[in-house]
């Protein structure tokens, strides 16, 4: 498969009320092996997926939020979070997991993966993508 396409995974749902977030992450991890151009978007309640300090012990569900930290190792380092969704929920960048990646072209410098963007910028990112998975 010689072709490279721009894949965008759009995450819009809270992490534990339904299985969509967890199974979306499984697609991202498998998809990372295909050497495509991958971006992730978090908006609406999806922003809760990457909040810090998740604890699922009392609900007997798997806390898969730690897996997001591994995305950088899979070369998944373009993570867009919608500003309006954060604002509406009283969240800021400081409430989110410090997702980062190491840039091998820059002496393995550690760089932030998350970029907070406006709804209008998010629309452009969607428009410029070839494949949009919405979970």
């Amino acid at each position: 498969m010689p072709e490279t396409k721009k894949f965008l995974y759009v995450n819009r749902k809270a992490p534990y009320g339904t299985i969509y977030a967890q199974e979306a992450l499984e697609v991202v991890l498998i998809g990372a092996a295909f050497e495509q151009d991958v971006s992730l978007a978090f908006l609406d309640d999806g922003v809760y997926q990457i909040t810090k300090g998740q604890n699922t012990k009392e609900v007997s569900m798997k806390n898969f939020s730690l897996t997001y930290k591994a995305l950088g190792d899979y070369d998944v380092n373009k993570i867009y979070v919608e500003q309006e969704s954060l604002d509406a929920r009283g969240l800021t960048l400081d409430d989110l997991l410090p997702l980062a990646w190491e840039d091998e072209d820059d002496d393995w410098a550690k760089k932030d993966s998350i970029k907070v963007v406006s709804a209008a910028e998010m629309a452009k990112i969607m428009e410029q993508s070839d494949i949009v998975f919405s979970f």
């Binding site: 498969m1 072709e3 396409k5 894949f7 299985i19 969509y20 199974e23 499984e26 697609v27 498998i30 998809g31 092996a33 295909f34 495509q36 070839d130 494949i131 998975f133 919405s134 979970f135």
Partner: protein, 130 residues
């Protein structure tokens, strides 16, 4: 045009599988080519042959099997999603120590890579779900 479809919801509870079926049938009748239909999340429940809906209702599972036969469709159930929800073919049942399988004719079980490949190989990937 070459298209693929992802179905994210189970039958009857949600409209996704119905709409995906009508879309796929119409597109095929119009001469378009379907690369793959991928069932994910609760969508894997569209692939159990044990479904027995009332006689006066549509049979969503059989409808997919028949369309697959007519157009040689590739109906793929995600293996991880299927394992969680108890959908198995003979090999999967054996591998997981189960005494029965329930996959419907025309469906096969495979990995998420098949979904990514469908995205790469198709002109359009159309998702049906919430």
């Amino acid at each position: 045009m070459k298209f693929s479809v992802m179905i994210s919801e189970g039958p009857y509870t949600h409209q996704a599988s119905d709409t995906a079926y009508h879309f796929t049938k119409a597109a095929l009748e119009d001469g378009h080519e379907c690369f793959r239909i991928f069932f994910y999340h609760d969508g894997v429940n569209n692939g159990t042959r044990l479904a027995s809906p009332p006689q006066d209702d549509r049979n969503i599972v059989n409808r997919w099997s028949e369309l697959a036969k007519e157009y040689k469709l590739d109906l793929v159930l995600c293996i991880a999603a299927a394992q969680r929800r108890g959908i198995a073919d003979a090999d999967e049942a054996k591998r997981n120590g189960k005494n029965a399988d329930n996959i419907a004719p025309g469906f096969r079980i495979s990995g998420l890579g098949q979904l990514i490949e469908a995205g790469i190989q198709s002109d359009r990937l159309v998702t049906f779900g919430d």
